[in-house]
Amino acid sequence: MEIQLQLAALCAEAAAALAGVASMNELSDLKAKYLGKKGPFAEFMTQMKALPNEEKPRFGALVNESKNNVNALFEARREALEAAEVAKKLEGEAIDVTLPGRNVKSGVRHLLTRTIDEIEDLFVGMGYTVKEGPEIEQDLYNFEMLNLPKAHPARDMQDSFYISEELLLRTHTSPVQVRTLLEAGGRKPVKIICPGKVYRRDDDDMTHSHQFMQVEALVVDTDVTLADLKGTLLVLARKMFGEDRQIRLRPSFFPFTEPSVEVDVTCHKCNGKGCPMCKGSGWIEILGAGMVNNAVLEATGYDPKVYQGFALGMGVERIAILKHGIDDIRNFYVNDLRFNRQFR
């Protein structure tokens, strides 16, 4: 069995030589040396010719087996070398992942239009449609049909931006309600909100703006109650200021609603305990509301014996100011990007 010993020694020698191989070139040189045409295995095969025929198959099988083993050793070594080479290449490609990403600019929506979207979505979910109207409005729709006759103190020429005797910049979005009721012709129920820009003759300061945004809601049907108004206000207060909020109603006065109420919500900063935000009262006034005055229903062709409704109106700036802790209403219109970009 000399041949077996020789083959084993050869395999061991090749394995030892392979261990020292560090590059693909060395590997191919070594491979030529052991497995090439002039290598030891080729040599064994030539020896085989001299053997008797009956010994040839066994001898050949032994040599081939060893050769295959050595070949496998070379393959393994080659894969290892390749893997090392790839690893080295990848290491060279390593980056500092903490460097900033390439800037893909994204802008920000204005806080007011976003707040309006939020309010719209809430009301649309409750079955309201969104109605719009002109900002240059007729006195008739802005005041007269809302139970604010010409001599009413609340509609002083000095308080509104008049363009002519009969035209003015609307002072609230209520004229959209009037227009919608007139369109509905006194027969159909109405469930709408009216967002938009409004104008009042105020000097701009921390809490006043000659232009601001309002969202008003109006529901007219045969069975709309003050309790429905209260429920709607609660949903609104909780959506805008948090699920734990409570509301309370206080008597107020608007010519177009009767009864009229101011709506307070428990302070979201102190949860009603009293803090500087709510001036210690635990309550924050958020909006005005009421049951639609019969005079408005009559003026728009609705029979108050059949129909009744509620209306509510909020200043969008006020909601945003309260919600986001904004200290000056003018921020909304200055558009300092350091302000605008805070609200993503």
Partner: protein, 789 residues
């Protein structure tokens, strides 16, 4: 309305505590504007100045010894009017005066001082109410050591009500007392005035020639002696915010506060006749009011006359010629109701709004016109020694009967969503002191004239709900099913906002009102902008025609604050009397790709902004927008770098570079602006609804470079190819532009990628070659382009 709690206590039979009352008012009646003590000063005592000598080391200070009841203190006083023998107000050591001013023992220029002798200002009484300089001197009978606030009747609390215009009834202590009685379930304790009249009859005859005078009551009071009012009356006037003057004027103001009925006192001896005729001013065009000012009257202003000439501007101000003065002995007292709107117009025009004019505006209780007249006569007798002549002169046209309003119980349930019991409602009417009948589920409430705001069943419901409490109302949601949705227009508006902000633009909201030159700055043909009748400032006097100037303003503002790359957009309107047009506008400057650590910067150019708009159009499914060189460009845009955007035949907007003159004026780098019409965009939007087949055979791309005259627009080349390439040419894209070496002067080379697609088969090379040859021929014919060799 500022309400003295001490005064209120005389008018209701219930215990009042300030904080509790404040809460009730807020929840049941009127909003509270303020609440506090008349004076917050503590540790005060009446002092008797025993000695007063000049300070040894000062030319204006005095050193006094003051008996404060329990001890005698040395106090250094700086007031020039301090003198021995006076009764004064002393703030003792440890006292805290308004403004958190603590009184301590101290040495003033070496002399020990153990307290402070006070002025009324130092007690927190505004100077306008007393106009005293120096320390306040109390009457001699004040007892040393006693409480000076009590002496002055300043030991009171004041609640200030913020009244809504409907609650004119709360502009009187009687009205407030009625509401407090309702809130606290008590009763009012009013005392009818007692007038003892002389035998001599009141000779005055009263008449009115104007419908603006509803009633006029007059009394003549003889023998008054003008003096100061007693401390209690002064204190109550001050608490209410009215400056005490003298007993006669103070009584008219006091009774006005008490009853809500404004009064006016004429000096009877200065009224030339025994007649009072109320009429429109008519031909009397000038009148001197008691402040000495000449007032120009309009013919419709209401005046009180003596039958010949005006003696007062009704409800607004009396005349100088009949003014009550120090020498006045006989008084003609007016208690009248004038039309609120008339009074408001006159008082506003003359800038003479007053406590009286406000009350006329808000509406008076006709039942108190005579009452106030009698009450004043009673006080003239009590406090000024006056004697009322027998009888009241009367002109009366008002209805004094209560208004009966029906409220079915079922109605209040259907309006409020809560079933009120008849007994609950009866309790409310009782508390409000409204008489009522009840039968068959219907209340008939007889609303007294003091509540002109309660006229309909809705008003009664409000009274019932507020007095019984809003907390009783349940919380429900209207159950009827409605189809709530946003319209396509509303969705498109949101899509534009969200898309433009995703594309890197910041949304802004700016004012619609601007200066006239700003409003029209972006106009091609400058039409005057809609102007306000009474603008507050020229800067906000007209409605804008474009959002661009406002956006440029915001751009400048932010650039001045070190923002380099600014891109803004706004959705807003352009206004004219005939229409309001919604616009989508933007301004962009700086880099569209900011410089980074990788060093890449990419400043905005026309095509970067065009790319943004193309992305917006894609989001809106607006296809085939063409960019056309406009025939004219306004002065704000670069004439060579501006395009009109057209979809179909409709102009949808404009995109261009800000004119270099404008940019340098505003200190801006290259800036690009766009303004699109929202409705036009929406009209051009054509979302694909039906699926198109995906090609099953491969598309083939061929690239061509052609040379054309420089003036030929890329669009013309594309149009020519698209037209000639039907049906297999499926896409044409420009991918390179070259001018310069190798290209003849005045020409340019344009490289085009052509994509061919047949839906029925794979295109053969020969077919495409033939198509390209055909296209080149068409191109040469349409644009003069030749294949680049």
């Amino acid at each position: 309305m500022r309400v003295s709690l001490n005064w209120l206590r005389e008018l209701v039979d219930v215990e009042l505590d300030g904080p509790g009352l404040v809460k009730r008012f807020n929840l049941m009646s009127a909003e509270i504007e303020g609440y506090g003590k008349m004076s917050t000063a503590t540790k005060l005592a009446v002092g008797h100045v025993l000695t007063c000598i000049p300070h040894p080391d000062s030319d204006h200070l005095h050193v006094t010894t003051v008996d404060v009841g329990t001890e005698t203190l040395q106090i250094v006083c700086g007031a020039p009017n301090v003198a021995a023998g006076q009764k004064v107000i002393v703030a003792l050591e440890g006292a805290v005066l308004p403004g958190d001013f603590k009184i301590k023992k101290s040495k003033i220029r070496g002399v020990e001082s153990n307290g402070m002798i006070c002025s009324l200002d130092e007690l927190g009484i505004d100077h306008k109410y007393h106009q005293e300089d120096g320390i306040h001197v109390l009457p001699d009978q004040a007892v040393a050591g006693s409480d000076p606030l009590r002496q002055l009747c300043f030991d009171d609390e004041v609640i200030e009500l913020d009244l809504t215009p409907n609650r004119g009834d709360l502009l009187s202590m009687m009205g407030v007392a009625h509401d407090v009685a309702a809130m606290l379930d008590g009763k009012t304790t009013f005392v009818s005035p007692q007038v003892s009249e002389t035998a001599e009859a009141n000779p005055v005859a009263v008449s009115s020639l104007s419908g603006d005078c509803r009633s006029y009551y007059a009394r003549v009071v003889r023998g008054v002696k003008i003096a100061q009012s007693p401390a209690w009356m002064k204190a109550r006037l001050i608490a209410a915010g009215i400056r005490p003057i003298n007993n006669v004027v103070d009584i008219t103001n006091y009774v006005m506060l008490e009853t809500g009925q404004p009064l006016h006192a004429f000096d009877c001896d200065k009224v030339k006749t025994d007649r009072i005729v109320v009429r429109a001013a008519g031909a009397d065009t000038v009148f001197t009011t008691l402040d000495g000012k000449e007032r120009v009257l309009l013919p419709e202003d209401l005046v009180i006359t003596d039958g010949e000439r005006p003696i007062a501007l009704a409800g607004v101000m009396g005349g100088r010629d009949t003014e009550v003065g120090e020498q006045t002995e006989n008084i003609l007292l007016e208690s009248a109701v004038f039309d609120g709107i008339r009074i408001r117009k006159t008082s506003k025009r003359l800038d003479l709004r007053s406590e009286a004019s406000i009350r006329f505006e808000r509406g008076l209780d006709p039942a108190r016109t005579k009452l106030a007249c009698d009450r004043a006569a009673e006080l003239f007798a009590k406090l000024a020694g006056g004697r009322a002549l027998r009888g009241v002169s009367v002109y009366e046209s008002q209805n004094l009967a209560p208004l009966s309003v029906k409220l079915p119980i079922a109605k209040i349930a259907s309006v409020t969503g809560r079933a009120y019991q008849a007994a609950e409602l009866a309790d409310v009417w009782n508390r409000l002191d409204f008489a009522y009948d009840y039968a068959d589920g219907v209340f008939t409430v007889h609303v007294p004239t003091r509540r002109p705001d309660v006229r309909t069943y809705q008003d009664l419901i409000e009274e019932a709900v507020r007095i019984s409490g809003y907390q009783l109302i349940p919380t429900t949601l209207h159950a009827a099913a409605f189809n709530g949705h946003l319209t396509d227009t509303q969705k498109a508006r949101r899509l534009i906002r969200n898309t433009l902000s995703s594309l890197g633009l910041d949304e802004v909201v700016t004012y619609s009102l601007v200066a006239p030159d700003v409003a029209t700055a972006f106009d091609l043909d400058q039409q005057p902008a809609v102007r306000l009748l009474h603008p507050m400032t020229e800067e906000r006097s007209v409605l804008r025609h474009s959002l661009v100037p406002s956006l440029l303003g915001v751009l400048e503002y932010n650039r001045k604050r070190k923002a380099e790359d600014v891109r803004l957009f706004e959705l807003g309107k352009r206004y004219s009397l005939s229409e309001e047009v919604e616009l989508v506008s933007g301004v962009l400057t700086g880099n569209c790709q900011e410089s980074t650590w990788q060093g890449k910067t990419d400043p905005f150019d026309f095509f970067a902004v065009k790319g943004i708009l193309e992305a917006l159009f894609a989001a809106l499914s607006v296809k085939n927008v063409r960019y056309v060189k406009p025939a004219r460009v306004g002065s704000m845009l670069h004439p060579g770098v501006t395009a009109e955007l057209v979809a179909g035949t409709r102009k949808i907007g404009i995109l261009g570079k800000l004119h270099p003159n404008e940019s340098s004026l505003r200190d801006l780098p290259d800036t690009f602006v766009f303004e699109l019409e929202f409705a036009a965009l929406l009209a051009a939007s054509a979302p694909q609804l039906i699926m198109k087949e995906i090609a099953r055979f491969p598309a083939v791309r061929r690239d061509l470079a052609v040379v054309v005259d420089r003036a030929v627009e890329a669009q013309a080349i594309v149009d020519s190819l698209v037209k000639a390439g039907k049906p297999t040419l499926s896409d044409v894209a420009v991918f390179d532009l070259y001018e310069g070496e190798g290209i003849e002067a005045g020409k340019k080379s344009i490289a085009l990628a052509l994509t061919f697609q047949d839906y029925a088969k794979t295109l053969e090379t020969a077919e495409i070659d033939a198509a390209v040859a055909r296209l080149l021929k068409a191109l040469a014919r349409d644009t003069g382009a030749a294949l680049r060799s």
